[in-house]
Symmetry: C2
Subunit: 352 residues, 2 copies
């Protein structure tokens, strides 16, 4: 089927661009000291994780146990869950998962370490833990190299858990300060614990700059497989590098310059990521998606020389591609404008 | 099970509040000339649509054919699809649906009317159409009473379609201008077409003011069943009227004032609806959810006298409750803090 015949709104993916993006990123990291451990939150598709592994990725990153379960069941054997796991329900699932694949997780507090230690000690097993560190993102993570080594020593002192290194989700492009943090933390860990195997950093924006983080051992980019409008705005890619678009249709042209499409916040998300407007229309790059209702996108076509008619289909590059794949049950994959397969988004909606 | 034992993040609904909200709104509209036709986009649950019908609603409103299919299959017999339906795929489904329930739809252009007319003429059937009008919302809809009657006359001239009145989604609380628009349009329709049975208006915010729209025949509120932070901010309800909360857990306390929860944009949506921050924490109303990553909510507890510990669970009233129910596969219903049932959100993810 030609993709223009698909009913709207839907998510469509250009396989040629996916192939190029996977290869280019794999080739780049192959020239560095950094191993590649892609984050699957962008695509949520085991088939694409396997493609990434075929191109040299050493494993994958998940944010949720429920995601990791899906990918482990699909045969992925090396997974990092880059999220504090707490509570009996999740810990029991984590324990079960360690029997299916090589698994690492993270902690940024004694509370999280204690939960993991208690759970795995009871099972007479051990889980690898990376200490999550905050280098300016302002999210989770201990706040200094000293705090990192202190938590590392605490892990090393407990049963059921093994200190395996550190993990950082760096704020964009501050690679030199990330390197300073990592080098200092590694030195402290080597001196006080005796080892610090893994230093995991991540993020697609400005990822090529990560090669200056010489003390890091691996990188965890996610978005690079599809790219999106936020990466275009940061000059990290161009329109032709964007593999995923939302196919939508003009359902109303109430005034000369206003167009309404059948893709709103339920199809594109309200994520702005610091941008103005809600996506880039490939056929009308001058148009502005100025507002989203749940089922309507409100478009201002004032700046467009030609303007669309009702019934016309358009392709939208979302501001932020990752949460978009969380909204759909399936994606349509195509080459040369022809759909080649439909894949269920297996890890959609995995909240636990 | 006590709701505090549920794993996080999840959506929980206080059935007592739902009962109160349904009854209060039904009682209010019973005192007016307006029939009540709730929009199901808020809850997406056939069980709650039935509860609304038991309390005097005359039918329901859906935004998508796929939603209407689910509710018709659940036995709902009177449905308005308040959305332009176009394209063969959707028209064929619409036609099939008219054999299962009493159905009305809308149009704001000849293009949409032509598609409906062609489809239903071929079937030797007729579908009721309301002309969608724009009274300042700036979304779909014809722009004037004159344009409404012109399209109404066009519908009346075609086979397979029946002009059944007008529909408006009014911008908040401009009820007098809505009444002026409706009265003028109705007069034109009566003079030029001979009838104008249904005048459908809608929206929860300021809905009690809608009683001054004396020419309208029905109202289509959605959010009132749960309420949310946007309605609190408009002084339309208080915290105790909010039936749905997202149960989340503190997973990290990296600094004295920063807390991170396991509910981000995948659990709360990025919808701001003109507000600052991303929801109201019932236990910490002074706290600010200042940012959302996909799986992390970033909270500033500076203004709170007591601050939570890791592992503590909190209840968040979302800014906008409707798209939140689109993110979860199930909701947990409770009374007196005990879960009484788990319902699949049957119409979640209905994009077509």
């Amino acid at each position: 089927m030609n993709i223009s015949e698909l009913d709207t709104p839907c998510v469509i993916i250009d396989q040629d661009i996916v192939d190029r993006n996977i290869k280019a990123t794999a080739d780049f990291f192959a020239t560095t000291h950094l191993k590649l451990r892609p984050h699957i939150k962008t695509h949520k598709l085991p088939a694409y994780a396997k493609l990434q592994l075929e191109h040299g990725a050493v494993g994958i990153t998940c944010q949720k146990i429920s995601e990791a379960e899906i990918f482990a069941n699909a045969g992925i054997s090396d997974i990092l869950i880059s999220y504090n796991i707490l509570g009996e329900f999740k810990l029991n699932r984590l324990a079960k998962l360690t029997t299916k694949c090589k698994l690492k997780t993270v902690a940024d507090s004694r509370y999280v370490v204690d939960g993991l230690s208690k759970c795995f000690t009871k099972l007479n097993a051990t889980i690898d833990i990376l200490v999550e560190c905050d280098t300016g993102m302002g999210r989770c993570g201990v706040q200094s190299p000293q705090a990192a080594v202190e938590l590392g020593k605490y892990i090393a002192s407990k049963t059921g858990v093994n200190f395996a290194g550190i993990m950082i989700y760096p704020a964009s492009n501050q690679w030199q300060s990330v390197e300073d943090f990592c080098r200092q933390t590694k030195a402290l860990c080597l001196a006080q614990i005796g080892h610090c195997e893994t230093i995991s950093i991540g993020g697609t924006p400005f990822m090529r700059g990560a090669k200056i983080v010489t003390s890091a051992t691996e990188h965890r980019p996610g978005t690079y497989i599809y790219n999106d409008r936020s990466l275009i705005s940061k000059s990290q890619c161009v329109i032709a590098d964007c593999a995923l678009t939302v196919l939508a249709q003009i359902v109303s042209r109430p005034t000369e310059n206003r167009g309404i499409i059948d893709a709103g916040s339920k199809s594109l998300t309200s994520d702005l990521l610091g941008l103005e407007n809600y996506g880039l229309i490939k056929q009308y790059p001058q148009a502005k998606i100025i507002a989203l209702s749940e089922e309507h996108g409100h478009i201002d076509f004032s700046d467009c020389e030609t303007k669309p008619s009702i019934g016309e289909k358009i392709n939208i590059i979302p501001n932020h591609v990752c949460p978009v794949t969380n909204l759909y049950d399936q994606v349509f994959i195509y080459r040369d404008q022809k759909t080649i397969k439909t894949l269920p988004i297996k890890a959609r909606g995995m909240v636990f």
